[in-house]
């Protein structure tokens, strides 16, 4: 019996896909609505996109988000790369190490965000971009680690052994053999860490402090004061950017080994 023959699974699946994607399509469609009230459709227009480009607080928030995501994803990818290289072969405590590395995935984000806020206040750390960078780096590590780990697991060690047999130093082997083969995994990891940081709302919400907002924090406070066509437009931009980056990471992960 083939799973294709289960009755109604096709119909239910199509309905579920509609459930997942109709809201996204509606949101994007409304972002092109010319009407001020954001509720009544008049005619198509890109005026709200022009409006968000001119808004200085949106510009500042977008810049903060970008700087934050670049820094956090770079740091997390570097740390994850080193960790993935060290957990390549089995050793005593490897399971424990991987549990710690994956901890940010399991813990409820609001609890971690609140706890980090308490630590920073207790230590007298100034809330803002630097505080957010530190926290984002920590929770981005598993997102960078998993694709690198997957790429490493699919790599045979024979090329590296051959290089070493031909008297390449350990560093040279790493630079000329391991890294070129591992590169797509590192890029996929970086992209996922970048998207995770860019989209993060809760941690930034607690750690942003007065004066520094990120785009998601800006969107949240804007939603609090009501639905508006500007929010539709920024939201649509954020959605499209995330989707493009994830698709990129997906194809990087599938590059021929």
């Amino acid at each position: 019996m083939n799973p294709r023959r289960f009755p109604f699974t096709r119909e239910i699946s199509l309905a579920v896909m509609a459930y997942l994607y109709v809201p996204v399509v509606v949101l994007i469609a409304y972002s092109f609505n010319a009407n001020r009230t954001a509720t009544i459709w008049t005619h198509a227009s890109v005026s709200w996109y022009g409006r968000i480009l001119e808004n200085p607080s949106i510009q500042a928030a977008a810049w903060n988000s970008l700087v934050l995501a670049v820094c956090a994803a770079t740091a997390a990818t570097l740390l994850a790369l080193l960790a993935a290289l060290s957990t390549r072969r089995d050793f005593l405590g490897r399971g424990a190490a991987e549990t710690v590395l994956n901890m940010p995935l399991i813990l409820p984000e609001i609890v971690v965000a609140v706890a980090t806020l308490l630590l920073f206040v207790a230590l007298g750390v100034h809330l803002g971009l630097t505080a957010m960078m530190a926290a984002h780096t920590a929770f981005c590590i598993p997102f960078a680690y998993l694709p690198i780990r997957a790429r490493l697991d699919g790599m045979s060690g024979t090329y590296e052994e051959a290089a070493q047999d031909l008297y390449a130093s350990r560093f040279r082997t790493f630079r000329r053999v391991t890294m070129p083969m591992l590169w797509p995994g590192v890029m996929a990891g970086f992209t996922l860490a970048f998207v995770t940081s860019l989209d993060d709302f809760l941690t930034s919400f607690f750690l942003s402090g007065p004066g520094t907002t990120t785009l998601p924090v800006y969107i949240f406070s804007a939603i609090r004061s009501g639905i508006s066509p500007e929010i539709n437009a920024i939201s649509a931009v954020m959605l499209v950017v995330s989707v493009l980056l994830v698709a990129l990471s997906f194809f990087l992960g599938r590059l021929r080994r």
Binding site: S86, L119, A122, A138, I223
Partner: protein, 293 residues
């Protein structure tokens, strides 16, 4: 160069582990300690106060004007609502996710890859933005509300700011977490086993129950855990779609750090959330061990 492999491994592994322990492990321990302290006047925490369980007592009892302790059910209600909403979301996700996972497993290689990408994409897009999309769809003057009200026999219905809206939003947010582990199980399943069961005279129902279900169970359990746990700590969905009326644990934690400014009480609520999560995870692990034993 370091020639000792253990030393080299430790030096590569330590930075990542140290960052996570310092920025996640240490804060969680500190939070546990702060949950025992009193509320401060300026900074939110009274560091000099003697540790006590007063914050935990406050969850259930409150002091009356004359000093007697009376039951305060408001936090219990919110806790129960969080658990019930998380459970309902898990059940909805299972009902929707199971057919999708089964259907995906029967597709061609390209079809499966495409579906996998389509299921994963929502996970990576902004949770806030996706819940905001539901705010647009369900709002009072939207076409969905208008058409529901046109056919509703009970008069005008409010679609937003209630438990149903939050359940819809939560299911929407976490459904991919259910589909992916289920799909992983079905993808590896050898469908000839079902044929063998039929050949040996099993009815359709019996074959599904005795062959497919035992294999699907680990996937169902993993998916349920992956949906239930983030739901329990949800903040964005109830904040947007519950509109301050349907509060969940995440919302009252945030309130202690915002308007109420009672950080130790917020810390104790977070500890409760963490404990509830650990209890569920342990129960699942025990259940799994008993099944395999």
């Amino acid at each position: 160069m370091m020639h000792n492999p253990t030393l080299r491994r430790a030096s590569l592994l330590t930075p990542a582990i140290a960052v996570i322990l310092l920025l996640i492990g240490v804060p969680l321990c500190l939070m546990g300690w702060i949950s025992l302290l009193g509320k401060g006047t300026s900074s939110g925490v009274d560091w000099a106060s003697l540790p006590s369980v007063a914050n935990y007592v406050r969850l259930v009892w409150e002091e009356d004007f004359d000093g007697t302790m009376i039951l305060n059910s408001s936090y219990l209600v919110i806790f129960l609502r969080s658990v019930v909403l998380a459970a309902v979301t898990t059940i909805f996700s299972l009902l929707l996710g199971l057919p999708v996972a089964l259907w995906m497993a029967g597709l061609s290689r390209t079809g499966r890859d495409a579906m996998l990408l389509l299921i994963t994409i929502p996970f990576w897009t902004n949770l806030l933005v996706r819940n905001y999309a539901w705010l647009i769809i369900l709002r009072e003057d939207g076409w969905v509300a208008k058409s529901v009200n046109a056919i509703s026999p009970f008069g005008p219905v409010q679609l937003l700011y209630n438990d149903t809206a939050v359940a819809i939003g939560l299911t929407y947010s976490f459904l991919p977490f259910m589909i992916l582990p289920l799909y992983t199980v079905f993808e590896k399943f050898d469908w000839r086993l079902l044929e063998a069961a039929y050949d040996l005279g099993a009815t359709r129902k019996r074959a599904l129950r005795r062959v497919l279900l035992p294999i699907a169970t680990p996937g169902i359990m993993a998916g349920s855990l992956l949906v239930f746990i983030p739901c329990l700590g949800a903040f964005v969905t109830p904040a947007l779609l519950g509109g301050g009326k349907t509060l969940m644990l995440g919302n009252i934690i945030q309130m202690q750090f915002g308007a109420s400014r009672n950080w130790p009480f917020g810390a104790s609520l977070s500890v409760i959330l963490l404990a509830a999560m650990l209890i569920v995870m342990t129960a699942m692990a025990l259940l799994r061990n008993r099944r395999t034993a």
